[in-house]
C-alpha cells in the first residue's frame, strides 16, 4: 500500500492511493458555491461524488458511460459514507465535490476509493469527525482472507465484505457484502477486516504527516 497527498495543484485537496495493482486518484473541490441551489439544504453542505473508471483499467477494455449503474452505485456508497463523517454543519449551503478516477482495477476498488477520498479530504482541510479507513475481507477455503484482488473477487463463491470504520471510535461507517457467508463466520471475517482497517489508518496518518511536514518546510519552519 502506498499513498501520497497533494498531488494536484488546481484541486483544493487531492490524493493518490495504491493498493497492490489498484490505483486511484481523488480530487476534492470544496466547499464551493453549489451548482443547483435548490438541492442544497440550508444547514448542511452537499456532498457530490463522481466516480470515473479509465477504459484501460481492467484487463478487457471496457468503456463505461457516465451513467453506468455500477459506477453510480459506488459513488452513492462513497457519498453516504462521507456525508456521515464530514462535519457538514460547519459549511452550510455549500457543495463539496469529490472526483474519483480509477486508473487501474485489481479488486478492492470501493475500499481504495474510500481511503483515497479520506486522504484527499484531509488534504483539502475539510473538517471530519475522524479518518475513514476501509478494507475488504473474504472467505476462501474455510479461512478468512484479507484484501481480495480481482481474480479472487470475480469467483462467485467467494464472499466479499467491505467494511469502513472510524478508527478512533471503532464505529462502522459502511458495510457492504456480496455473495453468501455463513453467519457464524461473519465475526471472524469482520474482525479481520477491522484489523486491516487499523493498519490502513496508520498508513494514511503517515501520508498526512508527510504532506504536512513538507508544507511546513516550504513555509520555512
Amino acid at each position: 500500500i502506498s499513498c501520497r497527498a497533494s498531488v494536484l495543484d488546481t484541486a483544493d485537496g487531492s490524493a493518490y492511493f495504491e493498493q497492490g495493482n489498484t490505483k486511484v486518484l481523488v480530487a476534492v473541490y470544496g466547499p464551493r458555491e453549489p451548482r443547483q441551489k435548490s438541492l442544497v439544504p440550508y444547514d448542511k453542505a452537499l456532498v457530490n461524488v463522481e466516480f470515473n473508471v479509465a477504459p484501460f483499467s481492467t484487463s478487457e477494455r471496457r468503456k463505461r458511460s457516465k451513467n453506468d449503474k455500477r459506477l453510480l452505485e459506488v459513488a452513492a456508497f462513497v457519498k453516504q459514507t462521507f456525508e456521515s463523517v464530514i462535519q457538514t454543519h460547519v459549511y452550510p449551503r455549500s457543495q463539496i465535490n469529490i472526483y474519483i478516477q480509477l486508473l487501474q482495477h485489481d479488486g478492492g476498488t470501493l475500499e481504495a476509493c474510500i481511503n483515497a477520498a479520506t486522504l484527499a479530504l484531509v488534504d483539502a482541510g475539510i473538517s471530519m469527525k475522524d479518518y475513514v479507513c476501509a478494507c475488504t475481507a473474504g472467505f476462501i477455503d474455510e479461512t478468512p482472507v484479507l484484501d481480495l484482488n480481482f481474480v479472487e473477487e470475480s469467483s462467485i463463491e467467494t464472499p466479499d465484505l467491505t467494511v469502513a470504520i472510524l478508527p478512533r471510535t471503532g464505529k462502522v461507517a459502511l458495510l457492504q457484502m456480496e455473495s453468501r457467508l455463513r453467519s457464524d463466520k461473519l465475526e471472524d471475517v469482520m474482525d479481520m477486516a477491522v484489523s486491516g482497517c487499523k493498519s490502513i489508518h496508520q498508513k494514511l496518518d503517515q501520508a498526512v504527516m508527510a504532506a504536512a511536514t513538507d508544507l511546513s518546510e516550504k513555509l520555512g519552519h
Binding site: R4, L25, Y29, F56, S59, K66, N97
Partner: protein, 310 residues
C-alpha cells in the same frame, strides 16, 4: 480550458514580452517547458505512456493506454485493414468545469483531432498490417487517453504521450492456419499466442507524426503556451509533422480572430524546423523512459506514476 481571468495590464505585459521574444517564465518564444515521459506503467494494457509538460501539479498531464482487441469482420468494412479507435477523456480532477458533461466538447474535439492524425496513411502505420485474416478478423487498436491535469498546451502533450504509448505497444503474435474441409474448402483460422513474451512491436510506429501548436499573441507566436498565454491567445494553429518532414495534419483553433496568410506560411516553415528538434528530444526522452521501464521491471508498473518525483 479552465477559465483564467487575465487583466488588461497582464495581457499587455505578456503581449509586449512575446513581441520582444521573452515570456513570463523566462522562456523564449519557441522553448518548450520541461517534459517528463514514462512508459509501460499499466500492466494490463498492451502499451502505455504518461507525459507531463511542466512540473508535478503545475503542468499538463496526459496518461495514454493502448489496448488491442481482435474484431470480427462485418460486411461493409474494408476487407484487409485493421482500425485504430481513439478516445480522449478529460478527468474532472483536472478542472472543476470537467465534471459531469462539462468536458464533452473538449473531449470530442481532441478525439477527432487525434483520429484525423492517426487514421490514414499519414500516420505511418499501415492499417493493412493490422489485418489478421482478410474478411474475417482484424486488430482494433484502442487508444484511450486520460487528461489528468491541464495547464496549457494540451494537444502537444497528448500527441507526445500517444506517440510514446504506440511506440511501446506490443501486439501478441497471431498464428494463422489454413484448414481444409471435407469439401475441399479452405478456411483460415487464427490463434492468438498467449505467451506474454511472444510479442511484436507495432510496425510503422516510428513514422508517427508529432504535433507542434503555435499560439498567436500580438504579432508573434509562441510554442507550448502556458495557461495565461492561452487565455489571451488570438488564434491557434496545430501542425502535425512526421519524421520525414511531411505535414500530416493542420488544425486552426482559437476564438478571437484569424491568421494573416503570411503568418500561416511562416508558421508552417517554423513547424517543420521545430518539429525535427522536438522529435530528437522525444527520442532521447523515450529511450530513457524505456531504459527505466526495463530496468525497473515490476517497479515500473506501480509507483512510477505519482509517488516518485513524477
Amino acid at each position: 480550458m479552465a477559465s483564467l481571468l487575465v487583466s488588461p495590464a497582464e495581457q499587455d505585459y505578456i503581449t509586449r514580452g512575446v513581441e520582444k521574444g521573452i515570456r513570463c517564465d523566462g522562456r523564449s518564444n519557441l522553448d518548450r517547458r520541461q517534459v517528463t515521459l514514462r512508459t509501460d506503467m499499466i500492466s494490463q494494457a498492451n502499451g502505455s505512456a504518461r507525459c507531463r509538460t511542466g512540473d508535478l501539479g503545475l503542468g499538463t498531464d496526459v496518461l495514454v493506454g493502448i489496448k488491442a482487441e481482435v474484431n470480427t469482420w462485418q460486411p461493409g468494412e474494408s476487407e484487409d485493414q485493421g482500425s485504430i479507435v481513439c478516445s480522449v477523456e478529460c478527468s474532472p480532477s483536472a478542472a472543476q468545469e470537467f465534471e459531469g458533461r462539462g468536458a464533452e466538447d473538449l473531449n470530442v474535439e481532441l478525439t477527432q483531432l487525434l483520429d484525423r492524425i492517426l487514421n490514414g496513411p499519414q500516420s505511418g502505420i499501415d492499417l493493412r498490417n493490422l489485418c489478421i485474416i482478410p474478411k474475417q478478423a482484424y486488430w482494433v487498436i484502442h487508444i484511450d487517453a486520460l487528461v489528468l491535469d491541464v495547464k496549457g498546451s494540451i494537444v502537444d502533450t497528448l500527441m507526445w504521450a500517444t506517440r510514446a504509448a504506440l511506440l511501446s505497444t506490443k501486439l501478441p503474435r497471431v498464428v494463422v492456419e489454413t484448414i481444409s474441409d471435407e469439401n475441399g474448402d479452405t478456411q483460415a483460422e487464427f490463434d492468438v499466442v498467449d505467451d506474454p513474451e511472444d510479442v511484436a512491436p507495432l510496425e510503422g510506429a516510428e513514422n508517427l507524426p508529432i504535433t507542434v501548436t503555435f499560439n498567436q499573441i500580438g504579432k508573434r507566436y509562441v510554442l507550448d503556451a502556458s495557461e495565461q498565454e492561452e487565455a489571451i491567445t488570438q488564434a491557434k494553429l496545430t501542425v502535425a509533422v512526421s519524421p520525414q518532414r511531411e505535414i500530416c495534419a493542420v488544425q486552426k483553433g482559437g476564438v478571437l480572430r484569424g491568421f494573416p496568410p503570411s503568418l500561416v506560411s511562416e508558421i508552417m516553415q517554423t513547424a517543420q524546423r521545430v518539429s525535427q528538434e522536438e522529435l530528437r528530444q522525444f527520442d532521447v526522452l523515450y529511450a530513457a523512459a524505456r531504459a527505466e521501464a526495463e530496468r525497473g521491471g515490476a517497479e515500473a508498473s506501480t509507483g512510477s506514476t505519482f509517488l516518485n518525483q513524477f
